[in-house]
Subunit: 303 residues, 2 copies
């Protein structure tokens, strides 16, 4: 199974099945689902952590819990929303030590509260073998920004592509366990820029791959200038850093007449313009020393 | 790890951490969480299906998908609520056939729509080995009945204990793959009976164990009359049937002055009075041929 193929299949199936459901404002295929209940609009997101895959064996359980909550929160942030409540499904190996299970549960509750979405419910299941990897499935209910959810499909030719913070080498450096989901930054961008904020996504799989997702959803071409990419000092060259993923920074577009902020005032997180949106075939290209490389597939497929 | 011990630990932790969060109306420990958003009150529930554990290997994927959605819907029903939207996290073994993955995804979408909660988002992850069991985590957002959510804690001494449908032998007979979550029945009970509907739970783990959950939450004793239990013809004796679980029928209490309906008019599902609520030590007892047996632990721990 290729996860990307399955996700495309799911998106197409959902579009067909949900065509006559105007209450499903955004279905599968963006950072979150956007739905209407009798009380208002909600953002809904689910994401999983698999041992050995998203966290190495032996990762401290407090850090596992932090990452499980934070990466789902990051998807709520990618729409400019506010996380409100979390649910956790934990599938744990047979004979999992009671002390570890309690430590993990306590950490999930603590990080849920920390990130603004207390864990209000969950389920525990036991896997058949002691050697099975644990699976944590975190679902978060969020509320959209008053501006409305910031979708992947909102970019237009002429927009400037920007990124928060710095990118590259997140997994090997351990930063993937410690990142701050950009909830405050996203809300500030949505409040300050309003409709001048075009499209937004969080960088989970890689700058190239995630930029291409904006490009496809918005039906534009994206060019990224390698020298302008804000890289971590340990990240290596731009062409490698954009494929690393797990940065959980915001990648977003601004309308051409919009002044580009240097940083988010409340947090000091820097904002860097790194490229542009153009008319043309959907995809993401890296411009580096006069060469133009297709980076639409550069990144993890699909964690 | 004993799942029940962990769930108790989680409930106690959540109570402590959420003591100053009046927006979390009901946290871990009931059929669903009940939370307040800016737009109104929501029911939130997550539940998991583990291969080999909740479904046998080789179960048709359409039936796996049905059960995964239906058992979470059943928890929304247990509060008298209406399921609205579903999210699915699927962790699938390495080299899982693409055709099977698509069949499973299509079935989840179809059953979500069928049960009133379209799948609006999800995540796919790949497990490290081909022999790993798949894990499906279904989260559902529901809306409460205008009466308010029907909690486990609403029973009072003097209430009559009732059950919908028939019970026993659900897993071996295959009925655990085909049950109808009692959404319509629960909504009808809540509409018709209002505050005369005391407490409610769905029978997932066993009549004894689930009755004891009402008893503990409501601080009462429950007595069940064995001869009055509506058993499936293949269920064997009452003392065995109440430990089988996986019935997904509603177990609920009615105030003493409330006439007991024979059936739910819209669906024809029978309703049977099977026991009573009394003051006393929390627990569930089975009365059978003059013997009184503690059945508080009779059932699965904890699927």
């Amino acid at each position: 199974m290729r996860e990307t193929d399955l996700l495309h299949h799911v998106r197409d199936t959902a579009r067909r099945l949900l065509a006559d459901r105007p209450d499903v404002i955004v279905g599968p295929g963006d950072d979150c689902a956007v739905v209407r209940t009798s009380g208002g609009v909600l953002l809904l997101k689910t994401d999983q952590i698999v041992e050995h895959r998203h966290v190495a064996a032996g990762t401290p359980l407090d850090m596992v819990a932090r990452k499980a909550i934070a990466r789902t929160v990051s998807d709520i942030a990618a729409m400019g929303g506010t996380p409100r409540y979390a649910l956790v499904g934990a599938a744990l190996p047979r004979h999992y030590p009671q002390a570890d299970a309690q430590l993990l549960a306590d950490a999930l509750h603590r990080w849920g509260l920390h990130f603004g979405c207390p864990v209000v419910g969950g389920d525990v299941a036991t896997l058949p073998r002691e050697t099975d990897p644990f699976v944590l499935c975190v679902s978060i209910v969020g509320e959209p920004h008053p501006r409305g959810p910031v979708l992947r499909s909102g970019a237009k030719p002429g927009d400037t592509l920007c990124v928060t913070g710095a990118i590259g080498n997140s997994f090997r450096s351990g930063r993937h366990l410690m990142f701050e989901p950009r909830v405050a930054e996203a809300a500030w961008l949505a409040s300050t820029l309003g409709d001048a904020l075009g499209a937004m996504i969080d960088i989970s799989d890689g700058v190239g791959l995630d930029a291409a997702r904006i490009a496809r959803a918005s039906n534009i071409t994206i060019e990224i200038d390698a020298p302008r990419l804000p890289l971590h000092t340990d990240a290596g060259p731009a062409s490698k850093a954009i494929a690393d993923g797990e940065d959980y920074e915001l990648l977003f577009t601004l309308r051409p007449d919009c002044p580009i902020p240097d940083a988010c005032p409340a947090t000091g997180t820097p904002i860097t313009p790194i490229g542009r949106c153009l008319p043309g075939e959907p995809g993401a290209w890296l411009l580096d020393l006069g060469t133009r490389t297709d980076v639409s597939s550069l990144g993890w497929d699909h964690r």
